[in-house]
Symmetry: C2
Subunit: 382 residues, 2 copies
Amino acid sequence: MSFSFDLLQTDPRSSARRGRISTRRGAIETPVFMPVGTQATVKAVLPETLLEIGAQVILANTYHLFLRPGHERVQRLGGLHKFMHWPRPILTDSGGFQVFSLGKLRRISEEGVTFQSHLDGSTQVLTPESSIAVQEALGADILMAFDECIPYPAEREYVAASTARSGRWARRCREARTDAGAALFGIVQGGMHRDLRAQSAAGLIDTGFDGYALGGLSVGEEAPLMYEVMEHTLPLLPADRPRYVMGVGTPENLIEGIWRGADMFDCVMPTRNARNGVLFTTFGRISIKQARYADDPLPVDPDCRCYVCRNYSRAYLRHLYQGDEILASMLNTHHNLHFYLQLMAGARQAIEEGSFTDYRADFYRRREPAEALVEEGRNGYC
Amino acid sequence: MSFSFDLLQTDPRSSARRGRISTRRGAIETPVFMPVGTQATVKAVLPETLLEIGAQVILANTYHLFLRPGHERVQRLGGLHKFMHWPRPILTDSGGFQVFSLGKLRRISEEGVTFQSHLDGSTQVLTPESSIAVQEALGADILMAFDECIPYPAEREYVAASTARSGRWARRCREARTDAGAALFGIVQGGMHRDLRAQSAAGLIDTGFDGYALGGLSVGEEAPLMYEVMEHTLPLLPADRPRYVMGVGTPENLIEGIWRGADMFDCVMPTRNARNGVLFTTFGRISIKQARYADDPLPVDPDCRCYVCRNYSRAYLRHLYQGDEILASMLNTHHNLHFYLQLMAGARQAIEEGSFTDYRADFYRRREPAEALVEEGRNGYC
């Protein structure tokens, strides 16, 4: 087993942790943000650019790759890393999140889920066993147990039954794994219910996983409730295993997640927002399509040292966006991912220096009031 | 005047020429292909990538930049080079080609052209004088005279009148220029009529330009007719000035243009085809969307040393195209432009070595028969 986690340091005034995950494809310094590469590409960005801006691990979506181009094809072509020309670790989700997002197009049983492909309507099945088989065929370095991501709000009865089933599925995933070089993470469910979260965590710990994730967050609940669930659940997880908060979130969510002891995050927000012209800065989010930027010679963020901010003006980025140019998505994505990855690099350094409290305070201080309010609002974006 | 042209070498067995254009932003080795950057970006590719693959000069479209973001805005922001982060020479077309493409949306008079913006329907005017003013405001290094690109087929009477008017417009452009550091090229029109082409060339030479272009080609005529016009017209132009065949063309068109004495080319074909999944190779064009490539582990062109061919399979490129991924356009564009620029680099070397005849023969020998036939057919793509 080539996977391990070292807890290097803890923050004296919060639950923030500085750690290192070792995988067969190299180390991951935590806390870490994982860019999302749904269809075997992080949209609009080259792998070399990801390396250049410090991406350590990316996430790929099992559901999408299972349907197209197919995991067996990827395996024949040498695995996902070779296929997409990405040398560092890949984490695959289980496919559960997407399958359950299909709504009426899917049917759940104890065995697994039958669903219709969003591509061609064909009937497909994913079970805990087949999800693991797909993830292993792709060659992922970190696999996620197959679970149901419970919507919010949901009836307590449904949450309880679903969470229990996800626990049984997690055990079946544990049994099904064959790739000893890869890690397998269990996913804590339980909705917004403390007791169900605790039961879920206990069950998973009993089964035993290489790492533990919080699923079912950022699904429409208010940020304070999400933080409450993190704050309650993260301490229930083994301190010597990485803790991954799935599908989260805004820059503020990341800071608050780290504060509460989370080590890993993923979200489409920086990449999707980029394609919609929304850019992250140290002073909050800006929408580059606004007319106020038409003549603005400044870079997106004067405090940013990324390639985009060193070479292009807001006026140019607005022009590209208005012109529906592919370069708009390329440059915006580059900047946003750089922002997210720098935010995490800064957090890691602050924890090392015992100053994460200051880092967090500074993060909020630099934001403009209006933007801070936006960030306080509903998220549910990932 | 910082613009000059040195004819370095001529091919012993054809009219092919090896030259060097000097501009205020550096040298351009000819024969040269100029990637098209319509809206202040060569679509789907970073400026650094263009430099890396050997682009020496790019073309920008006056019509598009005039309408959006506006030449005065670009000037206020420091000029087009700074705006788009491109340090090497830029050639701007005159806007004529796009304006005349608008069909019923434009009205021609001796003064110039009144047209309606394709963006917002607003009424706009371009005259020889304003076209030059726009090009100078953008900061182009090579400006093109304002002309009418005559469609094909067209009545001889119309061609004659239009060509004469373009000649008068060219003189007005010559008068209107104020930027002594930039070059101004005249454009030979005359449709497919030898005598009108000769009249047009003589008039322009009489006016006197830094370089001469052939316009009105690749507008729907068969390739042999285009070659005939090149063969007839190019020798009428001064040997000590660069000769630019506008909007041309396929790889074969470039080889045949060089053979007949052309020095400069531009075309959207490599970039537009890339976005449509059509890739250029030494053995002809391939459509990467075809199912036959779904499991193909080979690079696009096993003889190509570009970044894309060194790192990605046909199967991956097909997958990206099928998934409508931005990376498909990025990688396909990179490969196609590399192919075009390498084709020209090879031609330059062959002319230097006195072996352009062999280079041309080898170019055709390597193509697969079916593809060669495709290339022989109608072009009119640019």
